[in-house]
Each structure stands twice: as structure tokens, then as C-alpha cells.
Amino acid sequence: MKPITYLIIFLCFCACSSDNSNGNNANTGDDDPAVVTNPLLDFTVPSNFPDATYSIIQNPPTEKGFELGKKLFYDGQLASDGVVSCGFCHIQSFSFTHHTHITSHGVDGQIGSRNAQPLHNLAFMNEFTWDGAATFLDTQPIIPITAEVEMNETVSNVLSKLAADDDYPTMFEEAFGSEGISADRMFKALSQFMVMMISANSKFDKLERGEAVTFTDEENAGRAVFDAKCASCHAGTLQTDQSYRNNGLPVDPEYNDIGRERVTGVASDNRKFKVPSLRNIEITFPYMHDGRLGTLENVLDFYTDGMVDSPTLDDQFRRPDGTLGLDITTEEKVQLIAFLKTLTDNDFIEDRRFAEF
């Protein structure tokens, strides 16, 4: 459908809202001069991207909804200790992951078993978290808010804190056109903030769109290696086919993480984790679901020489001679890393719209 069609349909729905509670942009302010305007934000899919998976039409980001979502994202009140906000582990300068710990820290110094994933291009993902435990972006925040080793809070208690806050009641009203703080509105606002976090201005993107950039010989060579040896899983513009795979990491007995099997209960999903997007990969170290590999060199060395066998290991890693791993030469590794660095989007990590301060 063309954008104009979306707009017309959206306006029709707005016209139907007699009480303003559904029309995010229906704050006309006819009777009350104090009512603020709340324009829709421009959610545009980059021309080299696939269609969004998030249903923008059901929760169109607005200026005030985005502001509210951003405040919630950076607010420690969402955690039991009043400190560990979403932004505590998801730091913009690292494309919304963090570097200081291998696995992520929660309240009371507790340590989780997995490494916080970067947050970018979430509007294009089918499922969320390393094992796909959240099917929808709108419900994903339930996991970190309630997990003991993360924010260790309850949604009900968060809502009580927000209702008692000086700023939130007004911000919810401005964002949604009527009074009231609810779980529905809180999750919608968080989604409005997160779907706007599109990273699409790397050198790689510009080349894909035919803008005035050129790859060096090394980057081009790296891209060819990538297409031949990595792109079967790290597929497409977002470098992920969004599947779950076992890439042969030795099991860390400290966590004994069964991966996707926890979600599906199926033994064939044992030790499988989501194929991550490689967007901004240069700055999102440490790598793997548990952050065990510190550098891109470590990652590539692991793929050539570090795998261990298990029943669910992806067949692509089995060599004809029975050994495991990918065949990538030392020279090709250097080239690959040069290519991977073209995926860094400095505009995104410096974008003031998403900044905490």
C-alpha cells in the first residue's frame, strides 16, 4: 500500500474517535487552549530495507509518545532498585548494548547469563531476545522488567510509581490524548521509542542505495568472502535470516544455557540462539549470546578453529573430512573485518533523538 493510503485510513480512524482515547494525533484542542499538539513522527522504511514487521498503523509513533517512551527507557523507576533502567544495559554509543561486563548486570549486582543485545532496527524483527522468548516488541519489556537478574520489578508496581510521579501523568495524557496511566500505554510508548531506532546510514547502506561512497579493495574483497561464507545465515540487508542455530560454541558449565529449547521445549532446539544482525558489529562487543568473545578476530578464529560438536550443530559447519568450522584464510579474515566495519553507523549512535542526556 502507498503511504498516502495509510494516511487516509489513519485519518478515518482518528475521525471515529469520539473520546480521543484512540486517536494519538487527535488532540485538536478546540475546547481547551492548553492542550498540546502531538504530531505523528515520520516512520520511513529505508529504501534498501525490507518491510517493517511492526504494525506501525496500530501504534503510530507520535512526538509525545516517543518522548514518553524515551523517558521510560532511561528511567530507573522501572527497576526494583530505582537505578537499573533499560538504558543501563543498552547504551547508545555502543549501539544500545554495553561493554563493561561480559554478561549483563541487573539490580543488586546480580549477573544474568546472557549478553545484552544491541537495539536497532527492531521494527524489522520477527521475534526478540536471543532465544525468541518474545514474539512481539510490545511485550518484550515484560522480560527484563520482571526477571530477577535484570530489573526484578513487577509491571503493577512500575505503574504505581509512574502514577505517583510528578511528570508521568501529564506525559501520558499528552501522548495518548486522555488521562490515564496503563500497561497498554506504557508498552506502546516504549515501542514508539524503539521502532524509531533505525540504523540505516552506514557506509554499507549508502553503497546499497547507490549514494556517493565506494568500498576500498579490501572492503570489497571482504564482502565477497562474506557473501560466500557468512551470508547463508547472516542474510540480507540486516544480515540475519532471523533463524535460531547452534554454531558450535562449547557449553559454558556455569550457565549451561539450552538456548531456544527453553522456549519451544523441543530437543532439536538445544543450544540454538538467534542469528544476530551484524549491524554496528564493530562497536557491539563482546560477542555471542554470553559475550565470551571479545574481538572480531576472536570470533573469526572461533569460526575456523573453535567449534565443538553436538547433535544440534548446524550442518553448514561440518567439513567433508569430518572436522568442524568454516574455511577462512588469515588474509580473508582481515578482509572480512574491513567489510564488517562498513556496517558501523555513526549517525545512529550520535543521533540526539535517542540520547539519554
Binding site: 493510503t5 487516509i8 485510513i9 478515518c12 480512524f13 475521525a15 471515529c16 504494525s55 496500530q58 501504534n59 521475534e127 526478540f128 525468541g132 522468548a133 518474545a134 514474539t135 512481539f136 510490545d138 511485550t139 518484550q140 515484560i142 522480560i143 520482571t146 526477571a147 530477577e148 513487577t154 509491571v155 503493577s156 505503574l159 496503563s182 500497561a183 497498554d184 508498552f187 506502546k188 527453553r262 522456549v263 519451544t264 521445549g265 523441543v266
Partner: protein, 253 residues
Amino acid sequence: MKKAITLLVGIATLLLACNNDESGTTPADPGNLNLVFENTVNGASLMMDAMTYTNSSNENYGVSELKYIISNITLIKNDDTEYIYPVADSYFLINEEGNKTANLVDVPADTYKAIKFGIGVDPTKYPIESGTLNFVPLAEEAGMLWTWSAGYKFLKFEGTYSNATTPDETTPFLYHVGSHGATLDNYKEVTILISELQLNSNSTASKTIQFDVAKIFDSLHTLSLEEKNEIMVDPINAPKIAENTSAAFSIIE
């Protein structure tokens, strides 16, 4: 051009649909309907903790917790048309030790012959569309959410059991059944025929729906606690419990 006309007609319909106050005839005022869920074993009210029951695997069990989610309530009229209760308001937590009634308000006065409802939360629907986000706090307080997954427990059924050979040795059991994404979908819908229900304006009717707890173990499938006393994310057994559960509802009239 054809597309443009279709679009225009669509818009006109939408706009007309908005003018619900200006129609000539005023329909009768709506009424209310209370759906009361009564948890039973073999026809008698469930007694928590105090009683033990026996399943077909010859295991004695007592129940310490029983909760389930009812959703997507639809009333089927005598003329086979349906009244879909507002979806966002249709989520009810039934708790043996708490609320056991789904209060439906402003139901159109009409004659109804069947009630359709879901057990659990339809996992395929976008949460904004299905209006489940506001159900999160209630489900959370009742322990009906998993903290590691953004999903609901549709049924929470816990207690202790012993087998015939060691009757004095009791062991805890725990069934938590829900859906996990699209891969393990245990959401079920059931339709229950009722004797003609004439719902009148400005009045509240009541229907009692029986949930036969014994059928969780013994219905379409037989589940033995000795074989497995803890069932949660389980692609083999959780669907059996979900199917048994959906066969456990009937009307008491």
C-alpha cells in the same frame, strides 16, 4: 482507478459506521451477563487441600492452586449471528481461591443459544490488536506470567499426589500450560450450548459453567503424575493438558 473507487467506498463505509447515534430506531437497552465458573471433581465442588481425589492412573491427588485465563468471549444468538464481547475487556482470570466470575456488561438484549470462549490468550494476535497489554498486571500478580518469556500461563494447576503403593508419601506436582510463540500454541476455544437465554434490558442474567478438574488428567488423553509430575514448556504433554482442559467445560442448568 478501480482501486481508488474501492478505497473511497471503504472510507465512506468507515465514516458511516461512525454515525451510530443518528439512526432512526433506538435498540433496546443492553443487559448484563455473569458467567460463573465452578470448579468441580466428579460433579462435586472442588475442595482445595482438604480432599484427595483419585485419577484413572490410580494416583491420589490434592489441589493447592487452580487458576486459568478465559478470553475472547462470544455469544451466539438464536439466529446464528454472533455478539463478540469487546476483546480488550474479555480477559478474565478465574482463580479457585479468588474471582470465579466473568462479568459481561452491556450485552445486547437478545436471545442466545451458545457461549464461545478461549482458554488462555491467543498468541497469534498482535497484542495491541487483541488488547492484552492491560491484562498484564493482573496476570502478573496472579503468577500467570513467565519472567523469562513474554507469555502467559493459561492454566496453573498445582498440588500433591501419592500412588497406591506408597500412600503416605506425597510428592508435589505442577502443571503450567501456555503458548510459546507460534511454535507451541496451546490456546484453545470452546463452544458450549446453553438452553435459550433471553437477555433482557437493564437486567443481569447468570450462567454457571462447570470445569471438571478431574478431566485435566483423564479426558481425551490420560496423564499420569508418576510418569511426569512437572509439566511446563513441553511440546508433547502440554498440548495434551490443553486438549483435556478444553474438554472439561460444560454448562450447569
